[in-house]
Amino acid sequence: MRKVIRNAFVIEPSTNFEGFADISIVDDFIEIVGDVSGVSIDEEIDATGLIASPGFVDIHAHLRDPGYTHKETIETGLRAAVKGGFTTVCCMPNTNPTIDNVQTVEYIKRKAQELSICDLHPIGTITKGEKGEELSDFLSLKEAGCVAFSDDGRPVMNAEVLRKALIYVQDLNVPLSLHEEDLNISGDGVVNDGRIAFELGLKGIPNVSESSIIARDIEIAKSVGTHLHICHVSTKESIEVLKRAKMDNVNVTFEVTPHHLSLTEEEIAEYNTFAKVNPPLRSKTDVNIIHGALSSGIVDAIATDHAPHDEESKRCTMQKAAFGISGFETAFSVVNTYLVDAGVISLADAIALMTLKPAKVFGLDAGVIEEGRFANIVLLDKGSLWVVDRERFVSKGKNTPFHGKRLKGRVVKTFYRGKEVFSEGE
């Protein structure tokens, strides 16, 4: 069985190739990238006017399964992922039970294998039950298939626990991925600390609650040498701290989310709970500094922090509402609209940040279009305009502050191991 994607403009970050090419796929694998002729073809896909990119790689998503399947399941989550062009997803361990045991890792992997529409790699907890006290069984979890460790949703507040974790995993070649927030500073804050919070009578989360802990953890990482990955960086000060650390060759990487690089705290005006997320949407200055970091090339990945919620969790006051944004289905369009179309970075750079670069951060075999490799490919229409309608989300989580916003660029088709797992309009 051979299918050929014709006339796509291929963007391939590992070789920096950008140009028109045909891609032939035999079963699960890419056969030829270039001129496909003189072979028998079973199926042709006309990709004229479309971009072909490696399937996107998300190193930060919440699939809520096991435990919170009213918010999302592995099936709905992965269907939303492939609709967003992702063919590799790493899921955070704040499930119930948390991913601190081998059975849960196996459950997640089995579910994903049964579906077989997207690669799914579990992230194990740093501490048992994400309680911040006892270290997880790192070696067993890695052996079972965890690609990173994180207590996401919470910081590791006890510096000594984090230090011991970093020492223990030193030779594992698996990063610790940290949600950075000083809980004493953020307290019961719900939105960015600033004018909007003051005017609406909402408790604020100041920038320093993030940057101070990042600075602390960089010092700890420096003393140990283990790879530290920082999740969802949202503030100017954090970027400054990370920039300095990178200049000092500290083994640290970081991601930014589509929502933090596009939206500001203005979104919460009139108590829009869909814009409640942790870390909170920040100020215009912070967004501009994130753009600066992206264009200077120091950002290692764009990750969705896909955080689906049921309707009840958002149909309430700002204080009660859950933190989180359902992100898979708008990720590429947001990046394309707010970064590429706005002239912050090129499309090729954006694609690298959503494919090869995140794959490298977690050491995943993904993010390339290369002969002999799995045919995980996404076809993109970078020019088409559409209006986000949350009701049309495949994810159970329809919680998006992009609802009603006009975005440019969309995912047309997603191929996972040669199989078409998403096609626009179906």
């Binding site: 600033g194 004018r195 003051f198 005017e199 609406l200 909402l202």
Partner: protein
């Protein structure tokens, strides 16, 4: 049929009409007893406040309305029914207004998404306390005969005060010179407010003002991280006989004597408007009912 969720969503004409009506009610010896005849007002307080609740209740009854008080502790609100389910169910009984006090900012606004029956905000979290600001405006008007271009200083925990927030919106409508003062931990940053002056000395805060308004220090909240002690607060931020300016003094109450304001000032200062505020509260709330229901 109108909601009253905050001063922020009112315009000048609304405020002027409410103040006018409050004075008309205060001046008349009657004639308003039937205005709300046959109407039922449901009052739900998620946070206790004897004074505000009584003031609303008295206002409603003087206009001939029935008042039903729902005790939060006994209501289904604690038994798993969602907040909006409760308001939808109560709305189905066709009351004529809800008076709501809640500890979360934006709660009354949230309820307006689920009912067309007027929601009157009796204080929400640290967001707004519109009826307090309006009764303050009535009191100010009473002694100054205008609301225009007033010089007003508010002293205390500005960040966590719904009264200060409502006055901030009022100040914009009537072009006040508004000043905030208090311990730095309780003040907004300069860039969060425009047209508001943040003072750093008590004597500057007190000088050349038409009104000085003190806010209640919330003893019950964890104030220890914002102020070291009440004694220190009184010494550096409180109103005393020896720093008393010749200016009208207000306080939304209840006053912590010898914390915000010394007892002597409370008992002997003739420009203390605090009792007048309470008295005007009832007339103002009558005017609010008229604004929302009639």
């Amino acid at each position: 049929m109108k909601h009253l969720v905050g001063i922020k969503s009112l315009n000048r004409e609304d405020v002027e009409r409410i103040i006018d009506d409050a004075f008309r009610f205060k001046a008349s010896k009657g004639g308003f007893e039937q205005l709300l005849q046959g109407k039922t007002i449901i009052s739900i307080f998620f946070e206790s406040s004897t004074r505000t609740r009584t003031s609303f209740e008295m206002a409603a009854k003087r206009m001939g309305a029935q008042v039903i008080n729902i005790d939060y502790n006994q209501s289904s609100l604690k038994k798993g029914e969602t907040d909006y389910d409760t308001i939808i169910n109560l709305s189905a009984m066709h009351p004529d207004a809800f008076v709501i006090r809640h500890y979360e900012s934006g709660y009354p606004k949230f309820l307006t998404e689920f009912t067309n029956i007027p929601i009157i905000n009796a204080g929400d979290g640290i967001n707004e306390h519109p009826s307090q600001a309006l009764l303050d405006a009535v009191t100010m008007y009473e002694v100054k005969n205008t609301l225009e271009n007033l010089k007003v200083c508010i002293i205390g925990d500005i960040i966590h005060s719904r009264v200060a927030k409502s006055h901030m919106w009022l100040a914009k409508l009537f072009n006040w010179e508004l000043t905030f003062f208090g311990p730095k931990t309780m003040l907004p940053k300069n860039e969060w407010v425009d047209g508001v002056r943040i003072e750093s000395q008590l004597k500057d805060a007190l000088s050349n003002k038409d009104f000085i308004m003190f806010l209640r220090i919330q003893l019950e909240r964890k104030s220890g991280q914002n102020i070291p002690s009440l004694k220190e607060f009184n010494r550096f931020f409180g109103l005393k006989r020896d720093n008393l300016p010749d200016t009208f003094v207000m306080h939304p109450g209840p006053v912590n004597r010898n914390v915000e304001i010394d007892s002597w000032v409370m008992d002997h200062f003739d420009k203390n408007l605090i009792t007048k505020q309470v008295e005007n509260g009832v007339y103002t709330r009558m005017a609010i009912f008229k604004h929302c229901l009639l």
